[in-house]
Each structure stands twice: as structure tokens, then as C-alpha cells.
Symmetry: C2
């Protein structure tokens, strides 16, 4: 759990606060922020002033990657001071604890996470603990000199600060800005300072420690010769009042905490319990039978997930939102279906919550058309929006922020068919793992409507159906739908006749069949099974022996080879539909075709990068970490493939993509030849939580 | 009122909302923002798409100063469109109306202002009208082609938008972002669009006018061949909940309006009345007996004043704050005293309000010391903080954000003596012009304490007093006080023995004497008159016949020549103490010395720049527009000096400093050789309101 390269940004976030203390990359800006599309662009100054007045700082600020080890620098207003950047830094990157280590200064940031209790039946005590928007830092200073040194932790921002001791009658030492971010300590001997920058503060010519005009605030503590001291710091976030627009909601934590100072006080009081939770998670991941790069990827993905999570309250109930990383779209459904596995492990109620937000506010009924005859509309059916809004602006009901009409299989077109499968797949997994009878009862009709809608997107003439999507939504206004892979070529971008989406339709039918059987709707179950068989047969028949695989799109002369052909196997697998996955089961020919497909695209290197990383599509240099991690799981767990030494090679490549190719963006999703170029600072990569169950 | 160079930024602000639609500079970013230290960095797109699909835009966006007149540009996501920047632009810059004019597109922005009724006794109707945070725009499109054109008004920001029609049941067309900024129209035929940028919007490949993912929102209207149409737009601002930190207050307008959409609706409904107010102001300034550059400077200063104004509500009363331009310090007292004249003309209650905030929360008692013997403290007395906080963070009571201890006559030291004079001078002018007997009664004791405090800063031994400051505040902790001219050399920066501050002490004594006389405290009046005489005599005696003027600091071998020696004459003049200003009156020798001083420093060019602009200090290239404008008034109105042709030359130079030297910062205060280098985007320059009374 000691990454070979310690210089990369990571989210450090409370649960559900859409907040982050992002830091870790050397020579880069970072800091605390709420609802940001990237790391806050501030200065983080952590280190100590030695007796010779040299300020030694961890390299967590812009310019700290300079090769000069010791130099005079100019503070604001002409202050001058000697600065030495600590270059010999390592990192211990556990699931809930991130440690940035050097000889004399160690920064530890704990971001405990745990099942969020279902707010409908949990106690206020538990809900306060889960929602409190705090992150737990500790800086340990080791004085191996024979004179006292002064340890500091400071943040430089665009705004200004208020002293916390004023707000808490001296109970807390620290500072807050705009009542939105702040830090506090109760470590004896610690004091607070404010100034233009750390150089000005530590070399100040004036006598006012809290110089309120300065954008930098920090904590300071003296360490006697030969001693070691730890400054225990709680970082807190708070957003009062409406958190979202076009529909007013507030952060859930505002139900339990009325101010930032209260949050900070609670965080310090409950520090021990929070750190206990962090340790449990750390141990859990550390003891998993995974290689170190897999553990790195899980830890990295988890942090970015929580950084995008937003637990809101609408006045009568909780509203769970995961924001789409740098894009900040709200509850993007094709991310929800990938983050499903993570949420099911920790808090299944959030899955139910999002599904019911979709049925209630972001569902619709459309019609469909044959692309050969776009003017003739046929019955479509129920489906769901791509998302619910962007940057805290809820979209009007029934509309996403992302989708527009009139585009033919291009970015920003509609994803109607895929989102339909996403609702079914999420609901299926949710029901299989919770047995929530109420949910099943409430959505009996929804499941039936989903079936009809799926069938209508196949073909309006039942005789012409072959199980996969062929017709386009009227919402495209004569255009063509896309899949979640919006920025790829048609190998994965186009929806109709796509084998990736075809697989998700097949899995949706399996889930629906299973539910209809459970609820004794035998006729429907039979009809649905037939649809699944059609899909499987079509996809299996798509196998091209000459190519050695199933081409991505079963129309025209497409010859792209794609890994996500196998993706949808995860759903029947997790539900326990073992029979459906047997090569001698009802869908045997499909399973066999997929196995051959997968072996071919991997063994020939068609879908590999030179570094061993996975290339989702042979025809596009754009590979998505969330989907790679998901398909790795499917290949191993469902198809039983042992990658041998290639396993570690791939994991290491992927970990390097994140650490080096996405250095400033924490965990990212889209990579071109190992360099993140979109979907930065992204929550979706938690598909790799599945690895823990292998 | 047609500036020779139309390319400069200007605030366009409601009253008291700390908000601005800043625009006007060509090729620059601009836009709507709340509580910003500079122009919002967005894109403003105003113009029309002709029948040949060329988008013609006013040059109000970054890159529009390119010399290419017509070019293809790339929109987001690969959209391409033809763009033509309208370069032939002029400007009509009235007091409350700013018009940016071209052949086919005219933008008019009205920012009406008028006396804000005293909230303690005004009607809710009047208070709603005065506080409503709106700005009134109109874009007129003239179609001189024989095909329809499409006119647009659009703003590109960092956030996203919600359609206004959704929020108002179709009553308004427009968009809002974060419930904080928005624009609306009811002009028939206008529609709203959103997209990545105007090029993408006007050349869109999709069919969804409101593409919610885009950061640009706008209004669009079709203009038939040969026709002219005006799009009437209300721009609105809104900040819900706490507006300030460390002490919670809300914007006053939240008492009358509960949402941004309500603000926009009210703005459109009352458009006629607002425009009437704007016209009245326009006419008032236009008909004044001032040259065009003077009128420009007044109009420019007024806009920046309102952009920094902030009318708050603390739960029981109004709290008036003027923020310090780019620094955003709250109610900086040495600005208050300069903006006094403007506020007395329009809303004297704001002066009272700020004075009483100072006495209640930001006053203190200190001790003083002789710089020769800094360890021996003597009685000091009452004084006031430099400011009340910064960037909406109130400072703890009794502390400013700016002042720190331990500095000897350097920036950020204390301004204790000057702030003491500022309270007396503001209160004196307020009382003289309002005859507010309640205020006088409430502050009887304050005036007495001010007298004692002034005297103690002169000398602890009454026998050694000479009327001007010689002792330093204990708050400097052994350092030395500064004046408002913090960034100048000692000619104006140092407080003790300074003839600028000495003048303000003299004027303070005059005011106190006058008040004591009015309240029948004859003994005090006599004592105070004696102090004024001491001051006048000391200052007059400072005249150095060899130099030809009074050197700025009456200690050491200072020989700086400063214009603000005469500044304090404004106070007795405005109060009507004519006798005090006569050369044969009780302070005749002082007045005579000042007249000779002023003639010398101007006639010899010691205090002039080569362009004819005024140089406040002969020893510093740092001249402040607010103080120049104030001293121009004093020279003409009090000393009766006729500058002849030099008058216009100076005014033109100063106007050019603002237009060209402060192009992107609206009205600024500090100039080095005509280039703004500090105190940008600043409210203080409204000292020039005095010119209207000449």
C-alpha cells in the first residue's frame, strides 16, 4: 500500500458533503472546497520552522517541485524568508487513511467510511455521526535538533478567515472561512495564525498573529528538542441553506448541525470513533487477497466516489445524489449502474433512493422509429433521463441536462435505451440483495412497463424482434441514440445493434424474468425468457469466425473488437442465476461466443495497450477505468479466466495511468494511452469494489 | 458625455447589493457577480446573426479586440461558425445610463440611483423600490438588410443555468444561475437559449434550444427586414441567507423579495419608474456647469461606489457597509470620510448608520507614547478601527482586519489618530447638514472623549501641545501610526507631525468647538478653540520661505511638497465656518500659508505630472484620484483659485488615467504615472460629487 510514486492528488472527503480536501500531488495547488469540479486551487503549507529560521515544507504547494532544495523566497509585502522543500517523501495509501511521510513531518488524513444507516429508520445519533462533514488530519513533527522548532499546518485560499476561538469561546483553536470551510484543534499548545502566506507569517515583522487581512490561516505548535508532537486537526465543511437550485434541498448534515463550528466541535469530540472506522476499513482492504496495485485502485476510486457524493434533505426525505466528477451532473444514471456494486455493499438505501427519484421525476414515455423511416413513429414506452441536472441545478422534471435532440449517434444525444436497462439492472440487483418486498410491490407496474419498453425498442413487430435494440427514441428527433460511451467511436458509442447494450438488454430480460417468476406472473416470465433467448441468440450469431470475435455493432461492416461485450454478465452472476451463465445452459451458445470473443481480443492484443493496460475498443484510443475494472472482474469471476502474470502487469499499468496520467485530477475515468483526458475527478471507478468479493 | 475612448470597464450596479454587471472594455472578460474584487470573468455576447449565418457581436468579450474583422471560430464540441466583431463602437456615458452604440446594435444599461429612504421611517413600498437588486438593460437591433436577423444577448459563466420560464409558470423568459444571478424579459417574441457558447448556440446541430449542460444562457429575438426591435432585459442579483460571517446579517432586499425570480419580476414591472429615476440623474449631471471630463469622472466614480455598497439587515436594523473595492474591507473609515459628501447628498442616514457602528462595535480606548520613549505609556483615549472586517467576514469587536502591531510607519500599521479625526469630521458634517438633535444628544459624551483623545495624541503635557499629533498609539506596540496614504512615502504615509493629518486635527477642533458652542458648553468650546489655534499656528509656522511651501512632515528634514495640505479646509467650508477660512480671520496666517503653499507646489509643477494630472506628493509617484478630486474642489471652492485652461487639461488627464490606465478595473484610486496600480475597482472617488455644488 506504498505507491511507487507518492505524488498524486486524492480526494479526502466526508460522506455525502460534495466536499473535498484534495491534496497529494507535489508542486501543485490543492485545498478544501465544496461542489468543485477539480482540486481547490489553494496553497497547502505543512512543515516546520527550524531554529535557524528555515521553513521546511512538504511539497504540497505550487512550485514545490523546484529542484532547488533551499532558497530565499519573497512573501507578500516584501517579507523574505528561507524556504526548504522536503523532497524525500513517501506515501502510505490505505483505504481510509492517507499518509504523506518524511523524516520530520508526517501528514495523516483519515476519511472513514462505513454503511450510512437508512435515514428512514436510523437513530439521530447514528445519522449525525454518518453525515457530519469532517475529515480527520494529524501532523506529526519530530524534532531531531537540539533547539525548539515550530510546526505548522496552513491553508492559503482566495477568501478570508475568521478566528474560531472567537466563535467558540476559546473551546477550539483554528479558523473558518465564509462559514463554509474551516479547521480546528484542541491539541494543547497549538495556536492560530493568519497572514498573507506562510513565509510572511513565520517571518512576520508585525506582532499580530491573527492578521485578518491575510488569505492564509494556520495552526502552529512548538516542539521541544528531541521531542515528537502530533497536531490533531479536524477539517470541516458546511453549506447553510439551499444546496440546490430549481428545487430547494439542503445538505442532510444541516438537520444535525447548525453551524460549521458545531461540526468541528463534533468532529474533534468523536475523533476516536471516526478513526476506529478508518482503521477497520484500512485493515479490511490491506488483508484482502489482492495485489498492491489493485488495492491502490480501490482506495483511489473510493476516495473520488465520496468526494462526489451528496446527501440532501428535501424537507421530508433524504435525496441521494452522486455528482459526475468534473462535470458535476447529478445522478447520471449510467454511472449509478456502475456505482451500484459499491453502494449495495455499503448502503443499499441509496440505490433505492436514486431509482425512485428516477421513477418519480426523471422518467418519461416516448415513441420509437426505425432509422430507415424516421417519420413513422411507433409505440415506445417508459424510460429514464440520463441525469437529473448539473452543478446543483435540478433539470425540469422529465429532462436531463445532458441530452439534446436532433443528433445522430453523437455526444449529447439521448441514451434512452441504455437508461431503461440501467433502471432494470439496478432494481434487479437491489431486490436480489435486499429482498425489499415493499419496493417490489411498489414497482410491479414499472417492471412490466420496462419489459414493454425494451421490447418496443427491439421492434414494433413482435415477429421481427431479435432481442436487441434496433429502433430509436422519438426524443432524438430523427437522430440516433448513444450509450454511456459517448465519446467513443461507434464501436461503443452507438446504441442500436450494439453488442454491449445488447448484453445489457439480455441481462435486463433475465432480471425481469426472474422477478416475474418470483411474483407468479408466469406468462410474463415466459415471454421475457423468450426475449432473453432472442437476444442471446442474436449476439451469439454475431460471432464472426473469420474475425475471431463478435464485432461491436451488428450492422453495416463494423469490425471493432470490444471488451465490454462481456460486461453484462455481471448482473446474472451477482443475482445468482448460475444456470444462465453455463456454457451448457439456456444461453450456452452466447456464453461460449463471449468466452471465445474475450480470449481472442485479449490474446491477440487487439484490446491491450503496450503497457499491458486494457483497451476497451480496438478502434478507439479511449479506455475507461471504471469499465476496465468491471470487465476484469467479469473475466475472472464469471468467465473464470486466470490472467497469470498479465494480471499484475495490467493492474500496475492502470494504477500508473491514475497516478501519473491523472496526477492532478485524483481518480479519473477516461484515458488515452494512459493519460486522463476526460471524466476527471470522477466517482465511477468504484466498480472495482467487486474485486473484494472474488 | 461621449468619452473619446469607449473601451473601459464600468460597474453597473443596483444600490446596496455588492453586485455588478461589469462590462465595457473591448476584448475583455466581464459579467454579473456578487461580492467580487474585480469584474466577473465571463463572456458577454451581444449582437445578431445575419441571414448569411455570420454572428456580429459587440466587442465585449475576450479576444474581440483582434484585428480580423470576420473569421471562422470553433465553438465547443467542434461547432464552427462565422464571427464578425463590430469594431465601430461609440459610447454615451451618462450618470445613470451607459450606452454602447454601433450601427445595428445598441446596448443600454440603466443603473438608477436616488436617495435611499431612511429605513427607520420609510414605507415598505419605497424600501422595496430602493433595495430591489436589479439593473435595467435594453438591446436595440436595427435590421437594415432585406432578410430577417436574429438578435441575441448572452452571458457565459463558470456555473450552469436554470430556465426562468419553468420557475415563473411562463411569465418570464430568461435564465438564472445558482438562484444568485439571472436575466429576464417579457419582450414579445423573445426566447431563451442555453449552450456551450454563442457560436455553438447560433449554429447548433441539435434541436434543444435550452441545452442545460452549457455555461452560456441568452435571449434571442427575430428582427424582420427593415425593422428595429428592442429587447428589454432586467438583470437581477440575489443572495439568500447569511451575507456575512462572524456576525450574521442578510441583504436588506431579502426583507422585500424572497427569490431571484421575484426580484426579476418586480424589476420588469417597475421598469418605467426605474428608468425615470435614471433619466433624472442623467439630466442633472448633463446640465451641470462642468466640463465633459469632469462629468465622466463623476459618472464613473458613482458607478463604482454603488458597486461596492452593501445594505444589510441584522435582524433588527439596517447595517450600511461600503466595501473597499478590490480589497473588500468593510466600512474602511478613511474611505467613509471621503464618501461622506456623496452619502450626505443622497442618504445621510447611511453616514449616521456607519458612525454608530463604529461607536458601538469598532471603537476602543488606547494609551499613547512618545516615540523617543516608547516604553512609557500616557493616557490616550477613544478612537476607532480602520475597518470592520474583510470579504464579508466581520472582525471581532474592537479590531480591524487591516491594522497590526509592531510596525513603524509602514503599511498595515494603525491609523488611530486619523480615524479619530474621521469620526469627528463625519459627525460634524452630518450634524451640520441634518440637524439631527437625537444624534447630537446621544453622542455628547463621544464628542468630549474625542476632544480628550485628540489632545492626548498631541501631547500628554498640556503645556507642550502644539495642536498636531506627536504621540503614537499603544496599539502600534512601539511602532508608529500611518495615515490613509499607507502606500506612500513618509510625505503622506506617516501620521505624527504630518501637515495633512494636522489639517484634519485642526478641522476636528473647529467642528468640536462649534458643537460645544451649540450645546452651550462654553468652557469646552474655548478650550477647543485654543487647540485649533495651536494647530493652525504650528502648521502656519511650518511654512518654509526657502522651500516656498510647508514641508509634509514637521520633523526631521522632510521637504516633500503635498497637495493634501489643503484637504481639511473642506470641512469648515461645508459647515459654513466662513470666518475660519478668511485670511483675516482667527486662522488667517494658516490660510495664507496654505494659499502660498498651494500656489507654489502647483505653479512650479512640483505636484504635477507632465500630462497636467495632479501629483499628490512631490516625492512619490502615487497619486490618488479620490484625493485629487477632493483637493481640486478645495482649491477652487475654498481657496477660490481659477485654473484657467489647466483645469480641463488636468481633468482630461485624470479621465484618461481612469479610461486607459484602469481600463479593466472600472474606477480606481491609486495611479502611478497614469496607470492604476492599487485600489482598483474602488468606491472612494465619489469625492468628486462636491463639484456639483460649485
Amino acid at each position: 500500500m506504498t505507491p511507487e510514486n507518492p505524488s498524486f492528488h486524492a480526494h479526502h472527503s466526508p460522506i455525502g458533503a460534495l466536499a473535498s480536501f484534495t491534496c497529494g500531488a507535489h508542486g501543485a495547488k490543492g485545498g478544501m472546497g465544496i461542489a468543485l469540479p477539480r482540486a481547490y486551487q489553494g496553497e497547502i503549507s505543512i512543515g516546520y520552522m527550524d531554529a535557524a529560521d528555515t521553513l521546511h515544507l512538504l511539497p504540497l504547494f505550487e512550485g514545490s517541485d523546484s529542484s532547488e532544495s533551499e532558497r530565499y523566497v519573497e512573501g507578500a509585502e516584501g517579507t523574505r524568508g528561507k524556504l526548504s522543500v522536503i523532497h524525500d517523501v513517501s506515501r502510505e495509501y490505505l483505504w481510509a487513511t492517507d499518509r504523506i511521510l518524511s523524516q520530520n513531518v508526517e501528514l495523516e488524513i483519515a476519511t472513514p467510511f462505513f454503511p450510512i444507516p437508512d435515514p428512514e429508520n436510523a437513530t439521530p445519533t447514528d445519522l449525525a455521526f454518518a453525515s457530519c462533514p469532517v475529515v480527520h488530519a494529524a501532523v506529526t513533527f519530530k524534532n531531531d535538533t537540539d533547539a525548539p522548532i515550530r510546526g505548522i499546518f496552513a491553508l492559503g485560499i482566495d477568501q478570508r478567515w475568521s478566528p474560531l476561538s472567537e466563535q467558540t469561546g476559546g473551546a477550539l483553536v483554528g479558523a473558518t472561512s465564509q462559514d463554509q470551510i474551516g479547521f480546528a484543534t484542541q491539541t494543547p499548545g497549538a495556536s492560530c495564525f493568519m497572514d498573507f502566506d506562510p513565509i510572511s507569517a513565520m517571518n512576520r515583522k508585525h506582532s499580530t498573529p491573527e492578521f485578518l487581512l491575510g488569505p492564509t490561516a494556520g495552526l502552529e505548535i512548538e516542539i521541544a528538542p528531541g521531542e515528537e508532537r502530533t497536531l490533531e486537526i479536524t477539517l470541516g465543511f458546511y453549506h447553510q441553506g439551499p444546496a440546490t437550485y430549481n428545487r430547494s434541498t439542503s445538505y442532510y448534515y444541516t438537520r444535525h448541525f447548525t453551524s460549521l463550528s458545531q461540526v468541528l466541535e463534533y468532529g474533534l469530540e468523536n475523533r476516536f470513533h471516526y478513526l476506529e472506522q478508518a482503521s477497520e476499513r484500512d485493515l479490511e482492504l490491506a488483508s484482502a487477497k489482492l495485489n498492491v496495485e489493485q488495492k491502490f485502485l480501490i482506495a483511489h476510486a473510493t476516495r473520488s466516489y465520496y468526494g462526489s457524493s451528496q446527501w440532501l434533505w428535501d424537507g421530508s426525505k433524504s435525496v441521494w445524489v452522486v455528482n459526475e466528477g468534473e462535470y458535476l451532473m447529478m445522478n447520471t444514471f449510467d454511472l449509478t449502474v456502475d456505482m451500484l456494486f459499491f453502494e449495495m455493499r455499503f448502503n443499499p438505501w441509496t440505490v433505492r433512493n436514486v431509482l425512485e427519484q428516477f421513477t418519480q421525476d426523471y422518467s418519461f414515455y416516448d415513441q420509437v422509429f426505425d432509422p430507415q423511416d424516421p417519420d413513422t413513429l411507433h409505440p415506445g414506452g417508459l424510460s429514464f433521463c440520463h441525469d437529473m441536472g448539473v452543478m446543483n441545478h435540478w433539470s425540469p422534471a422529465g429532462r436531463s441536462s445532458y441530452e439534446v435532440g436532433g443528433l445522430d449517434r453523437a455526444c449529447f444525444s439521448h441514451m434512452t435505451c441504455e437508461q431503461l436497462t440501467n433502471w432494470v439492472l439496478c432494481a434487479g440487483i437491489y431486490l436480489a440483495q435486499t429482498e425489499d418486498a415493499d419496493f417490489l410491490r411498489r414497482h410491479q407496474q414499472t417492471f412490466l412497463e420496462c419489459l414493454r419498453s425494451l421490447q418496443n425498442r427491439d421492434h414494433y413487430d413482435p415477429a421481427k424482434r431479435d432481442g436487441i435494440m434496433s429502433l430509436e427514441s422519438s426524443r432524438t428527433e430523427g437522430g440516433g441514440e448513444i450509450t454511456t460511451y459517448d465519446s467513443l467511436d461507434h464501436s461503443l458509442g452507438q446504441s442500436r445493434r450494439n453488442i454491449y447494450l445488447g448484453g445489457k438488454m439480455w441481462a435486463s430480460y433475465l432480471i425481469l424474468e426472474n422477478l416475474f417468476t418470483q411474483t407468479n406472473r408466469e406468462e410474463l416470465a415466459t415471454e421475457t425468457r423468450a426475449a432473453a433467448e432472442l437476444a442471446a441468440n442474436t449476439l451469439a450469431a454475431g460471432f464472426d469466425p473469420e474475425l475471431g470475435y463478435i464485432p461491436a455493432v451488428l450492422e453495416g461492416d463494423n469490425t471493432s473488437a470490444i471488451i465490454p461485450a462481456i460486461e453484462a454478465l455481471v448482473y446474472p452472476y451477482l443475482i445468482g442465476l448460475e444456470n444462465a451463465l453455463c456454457e451448457d445452459g439456456p444461453y450456452g451458445s452466447y456464453i461460449t461466443a463471449l468466452r471465445k470473443h474475450f480470449h481472442h481480443v485479449m490474446d491477440t492484443g487487439l484490446c491491450l495497450y503496450p503497457d499491458g493496460g486494457w483497451k476497451l475498443s480496438s478502434s478507439a484510443d479511449n479506455s475507461w477505468m471504471s469499465k476496465i475494472n468491471l470487465c476484469q472482474y467479469v473475466a475472472r469471476a464469471v468467465l473464470g479466466i486466470d490472467f497469470g502474470e498479465d494480471q499484475y502487469k495490467a493492474d500496475q499499468a492502470h494504477a500508473r495511468w491514475e497516478r501519473e496520467g491523472s496526477k492532478l485530477s485524483a481518480c479519473s475515468d477516461q484515458f488515452r494511452s494512459g493519460v486522463a483526458h476526460g471524466s476527471l475527478y470522477y466517482p465511477r471507478i468504484v466498480t472495482n469494489i467487486l474485486w473484494l468479493s472474488e
